[in-house]
Symmetry: C2
Subunit: 374 residues, 2 copies
């Protein structure tokens, strides 16, 4: 999944309980989301004790999977909610929690699909369970099966929970139906994007994935449930009409793509101490990024192709590839594409249906996609 | 997942639209469920066309995964609903459909967990997608990854849909909350059972799984979402109180176990033309059944152990093992245990809160667990 690093701040808006506005309100809202997540997991870890001991461990692992995230989706829910004058912490935080559970479920299943056993720098559920099995003398094959089983089931539990948590939101019937519509669509689109991502990485389509396919995959896989869905959800809960929802949906689409373009640039040109990963990573994976898709159409492609996807690519070779990706115009192209998406996203915010209290922080978020390379 | 073969018939009860009672009403209800399922998949297959072509194929495959089932869970929803005098086809069929989507999701993920590519005698989603990849020249490793990715995502989509379909049921807020409670619990318990099943089959617990662990795993993995959940759901929708719900929950638990015990017997002693599978299957798999768990505690175990789990077990060897399982008392024990579960389930139905219109068909279902070996 795309790492999102926006600077999401809520606007200066009074809260229903009269507490400090602005960042103080966001902090309280986020604390409430953490509290709900904590209570959610505590209750289930406790209930799991009635079953096979492995089940309690599964829920503890699911809780671990939900920890350490930046809470981007909840922030977007809350930003839209507060920005449109919403004043009921309870329902907004419930919805925010639902999207974080959804995100965690996607991470868990993503890791199974990609065969990854590490996430956020430590073993994920699949890795934890596999290590557990190895410690009990299981073969690596059996350990992997155990790990993947745990991760699939943990993801199922959180995916299911996201839907029922949202369905229980304290709101009227019409709003609940719309909330579920937005969630349904977010899940529908994300699955399409994830499938396209696997297809691209398995080279199961054409040999030369077009840039628009790479961007479409990105938009579907990440933007819908990470930006558009949460923003629309917060806006809906605050009484936003279809016009503001439509604007936020489009904003989300553009910003989601912008984030990925920024990530693609960081992946090759970003400093490791900023990104937390070495620049060889994307190149070794042979990851199908916007840079690669562009470079494929240039005369310098033959210098790139042989090294791409080589698991033993050395740092100096990665540095040379980075230079080629710059010289062939890929870097400049992607930077311009990123800037264009940001400009279009910001332009959308210039609308009578979007008050400054919402437009300003969203413009900040969009602009934060640029210049992430230090 | 356990194959369930109950004879589920609805009682003689007039329907709201005045159509024929009894089996005629069930047929109409089931037809309505099929119609809803059809419409559900048609809409999504159509919407999927807007994405990568593989996404339309994914939804077509998901629809295939939902076909060919006996609709046991919907039947239980409808049986309880009509048996308690429910007269609104729409809400009952919506709930019935949700449980069938849930069941299909579990089958899809189960097959990934078990590494199976065939279900109901034909390729499942994982198998279909894998074959697709092979046809495009992918290695078997990549094809398997593609297949599993498709099956994980298809399962996710249906698991999500089951929850939102149920959440949208046309009922009051209190009933919706209870419906979601029942669904939450069904999913929670099923995941516990599935994890325990994997643990048992991977021998990750003690070397000698106790019979009660095998039965607990069965109960959790199947009974909750296949019998208890659907019955409670139908009863709730028809206005049933907590006493009848509690009775149905316990009935479901007992009957779910009884079904598995019957399946265990069929797996070793049943005629292949009846069961659709050869008797070597369970033995070759080394499946941890009630028969095996019992035999482990007898003096004849040494004759069983070496052959169990041997993928090349010949039919005559399987026949010999079957004789040992009979002679050591395992068959008789399991048959008695099965009969005991059936008796207790039927006894539960003798309650003032359960009218004859519901008690009679449920008693028939319970008794149909016995004597399935022809």
């Amino acid at each position: 999944m795309t790492q999102l690093h926006p600077e999401v701040r809520t606007p200066d808006a009074p809260t229903a309980d009269g507490t400090a506005a602005g960042d103080g309100a966001l902090a309280l809202d986020l604390a409430a989301v953490e509290e709900r997540l904590g209570a959610f997991f505590d209750a289930r870890i406790s209930a799991a004790s009635a079953y096979d001991p492995s089940y309690r461990r599964l829920w503890e692992s699911a809780r671990d999977a939900a920890e350490g995230g930046k809470r981007i989706r909840p922030r977007f829910v809350l930003l839209a909610y507060r920005g449109l004058g919403g004043a009921e912490r309870d329902v907004a935080c419930t919805a925010a929690m639902a999207y974080e559970l959804l995100h965690t479920a996607f991470l868990l299943h993503d890791d199974v699909i990609d065969g990854d056993t590490v996430r956020r720098g430590r073993p994920n559920t699949a890795g934890e369970f596999a290590a557990d099995a190895v410690a009990r003398g299981a073969s690596s094959h059996r350990a992997r099966r155990w790990g993947e089983s745990g991760a699939i089931l943990a993801g199922d539990l959180l995916l299911h929970a996201a839907a029922t948590v949202l369905a229980r939101a304290d709101t009227d019937e019409w709003t609940r139906e719309r909330l579920l519509d937005i969630l349904d669509h977010s899940v529908f689109v994300t699955a399409a994007g994830e499938l396209a991502d696997v297809a691209l990485s398995e080279r199961l389509g054409d040999d030369a994935p077009a840039l628009e396919d790479v961007l479409a995959m990105t938009e579907h896989k990440t933007a819908a449930y990470s930006v558009s869905g949460p923003l629309m959800t917060g806006a809906l809960l605050a009484g936003g009409g279809e016009d503001v929802l439509a604007s936020l949906a489009e904003y989300g689409r553009l910003v989601g793509i912008a984030f990925q373009l920024g990530d693609d640039l960081l992946g090759v040109f970003g400093a490791e101490d900023v990104t937390g990963k070495s620049i060889v990573s994307d190149l070794r994976q042979g990851k199908e990024t916007s840079l690669i898709a562009y470079a494929r159409g240039t005369a310098r492609w033959e210098e790139v192709a042989p090294s791409l996807g080589r698991g033993d690519l050395a740092p100096h070779e990665a540095g040379r590839l980075a230079s080629v990706l710059e010289e062939c115009g890929a870097r400049r192209f992607v930077e311009r594409l990123l800037a264009d998406h940001v400009d279009r996203a910001v332009a959308l915010l210039d609308s009578p249906s979007i008050p400054p209290a919402l437009a300003e922080p969203l413009a900040d978020v969009a602009r934060s996609c640029i210049g992430r390379i230090v």
